[in-house]
Symmetry: C2
Subunit: 494 residues, 2 copies
Amino acid sequence: MKIRRVAIDTHPENTAFLLRAGGEFAPEQFQAMRKVAIGDCTASILATLAIVDDERLLAPGEIGLGEQAFRRLGLPDGAEVSVRQAPPPHSLEFVRRKIDGDTLEDAEIGEIIRDIVAYRYSPMEIGAFLVACAGFMTTQETLALTRAMADAGRRLHWPPGAIVDKHCIGGIPGNRTSMIVVPIVAAHGLVMPKTSSRAITSPSGTADTMEVLASVDLSAAKLKAVVEREHAVLAWGGRVNLSPADDILISVERPLRIDTFDQMVASILSKKLAAGSTHLLIDIPVGPTAKVRSQAEAVRLRKLFEYVGRKLGLILDIVFTDGSQPVGRGVGPVLEARDVMAVLRNDPAAPADLRERALMLAGRVLEFDPDLEGGAGLARARVLLESGAALAAMERIIDAQGRRAVAPELGALEYDVRADQRGSVAAIDCHLIARIARAAGAPMDKGAGIDLLRKVGDRVLQGDVLFRIHAESAAGLAFARELAAASPAYSVAT
Amino acid sequence: MKIRRVAIDTHPENTAFLLRAGGEFAPEQFQAMRKVAIGDCTASILATLAIVDDERLLAPGEIGLGEQAFRRLGLPDGAEVSVRQAPPPHSLEFVRRKIDGDTLEDAEIGEIIRDIVAYRYSPMEIGAFLVACAGFMTTQETLALTRAMADAGRRLHWPPGAIVDKHCIGGIPGNRTSMIVVPIVAAHGLVMPKTSSRAITSPSGTADTMEVLASVDLSAAKLKAVVEREHAVLAWGGRVNLSPADDILISVERPLRIDTFDQMVASILSKKLAAGSTHLLIDIPVGPTAKVRSQAEAVRLRKLFEYVGRKLGLILDIVFTDGSQPVGRGVGPVLEARDVMAVLRNDPAAPADLRERALMLAGRVLEFDPDLEGGAGLARARVLLESGAALAAMERIIDAQGRRAVAPELGALEYDVRADQRGSVAAIDCHLIARIARAAGAPMDKGAGIDLLRKVGDRVLQGDVLFRIHAESAAGLAFARELAAASPAYSVAT
């Protein structure tokens, strides 16, 4: 059959189109051909089949390919291909055994991940694997999953020596410490090639906030060049294809909101392994509305990180931090970038909690330096920040990545949420603050977000502003206002 | 926006098509709009969105609907509708809690099933629910699932009195006892409206085999009319929309091959409840290649049936049968119909195992008759069969449903699989026999299948025919031969 490109985008699924009355297949064969293999001797893909009844879309003898399937197959329009019923990938047998409660071997998990990265699984099949894993996984399975995910994409290689990194498991709005830690560590001279994700369910990821200041969409070559010159980088990891299995699994985990410790450890450590890290600081915020809600849970997660990290040859330091309320004042790309630069500039008005937390984390990363006296990390970090060395390093990193000619501005539409009684702020719901900021438009609208004018423990009078919503669009402002009115994010105790 | 019907069939998913450059939505909105709600004040559906880049397919201001979405929405081409991002169904929260290991309340399971039947779940989300349930379910959850499934579709109502039924959990090729039990019971005078499925993974379902003799695709009204006249019917259940949730769940269970006891009990009892049964005999074959492989498993399944059945007010009788080898000689619609009619005609050459098993089951169904002396069921069943009363009842049922004018014939292409040594048949693999018969073309090709010329215990010489493959197409014959050569379905012990 001949390929015909069909201008329909069915991301993330490959779709192929076949004429019902084309004569190539009997009606009952279509039933068995939910999934087809299409290709020639050089390339082949699997696709889900849609049946077409309109000869204006497809001629007999043609197989239509949606945009994504066409791109992934990589053959020219009109190329001659064979089309046949695709047998389900053999590794689905392992998924079925996992559903039945079996424990899988390393090689079996490796085959599942390779098939997923080759787009041989439908979202339904990926979901089945993830849900079965969410039921029960041994630490050995988590290790095998991490290794298989790291092996399935590109790996970055660096000259010998310590390659340090830090990662926060997330969940705390405004917790933008990486953009302070990286320039401090770079100023010290350690190599810290930090790749970050964009926001998935949060109002901003490190990549989204850094993008307010500089380009983050760097090729692998460009990324290496920046690190060679400045010891560090703050780039978007998506571009360099580190652990593509992670990106695919996340695309299914997100709608199902699967967020187990096993998946978290495999996701984080596979990305770090692929990025070539040797030393890694992991920040686990603990709080009633954070991802980890108790000390006992935090210890369980730490042990899983330690087990898998050690087996992979990573040197880990794990720190529990206060996850009881948002960090800093700004939530959303422009607002967070404002706070970060205020800390780096030693602005007296900069949020003290963000500064102290970043210094503590930078100090622990500096402790990875064998030449530094044990326990001297925090003091060294403070010197590098207060001397302006960290700010200078940040400016150099921004220039090396490509400074934004016109910086995005804070959203001009505002709405103030005020205290309805006097008292003191007893709690701020991290989850709700994140949802309101997203409703306002963050991270797509860089200037949208929330400015937290009061933090836990602050005294307020009735009518005082608790937080200010910023938006770029009237719809975003209205949506955020509505959500803020429906569910109070602040509790004020009298 | 205006509806435009698009001649693309994406069963089982609803698909909507939107022009990328249509001006109605900003590019970043598409990302959030994987699923959209489309409708007016009278009707509304959810659909997965595909993005179109070709204005010949869609004009700006139009929303394309695939065949299935168009049919389910039921509005005319060109109708004015609103299109908006569909919030995920609220019941997905319950699915997430189930993934996390929680036990769900009756009302929560009810909401999940109602949303599934309203096509608000994607296959991925249905898969997540099923896999989470496969991990662990309480008996109370299984009961709630069964009730919710029975409540979600049509229910048949009958005059007061016992409405008897029988059901085999399947897995044994050739085990076509229902078509013998039903006419015996009808001849006795009990009411037995038997609805059956078509084959899903087997070479023939009762509906497929009955269709060799009569029409099985009966409307609810026609089905009732047949039962009124003949006390019984042997119809395809799919037409009357009993437990549509079951059909949807099975479409996801099949590719994932989820086959837990909980799903089996919920599937069977929800269908029987919806069909209005009051008394039900369940046949559980036990054998090394059957669905239930040990006595201990069979007891566990029986207890689950008993618990759920009692809570639903069904009177159950559960019987364990020999599932060590296929029953009768023929496997496939035409061959099985031949065996069934031979038993009903009291043909001395009819397979004795099929006859005796059907008599035993019919006897136990007759025990449901309060007017029959306890223990007299089997003798009564034998009288009804041997007197020709059962055959006469079957002929009346066939005529009432609509006798096939031209009966399908046995596939003319044959291939004999022979013993490669002398000895006695030690075992026959039910699973492999089913796969070979399907490869030959059954149940789509009614005349395709397998004729078992030897059974377990029979003595054979080298070169004797063990079984004969029948096919209607050369491809089917070749495929079945290949499979039979690769994996021997018979073991012959010397």
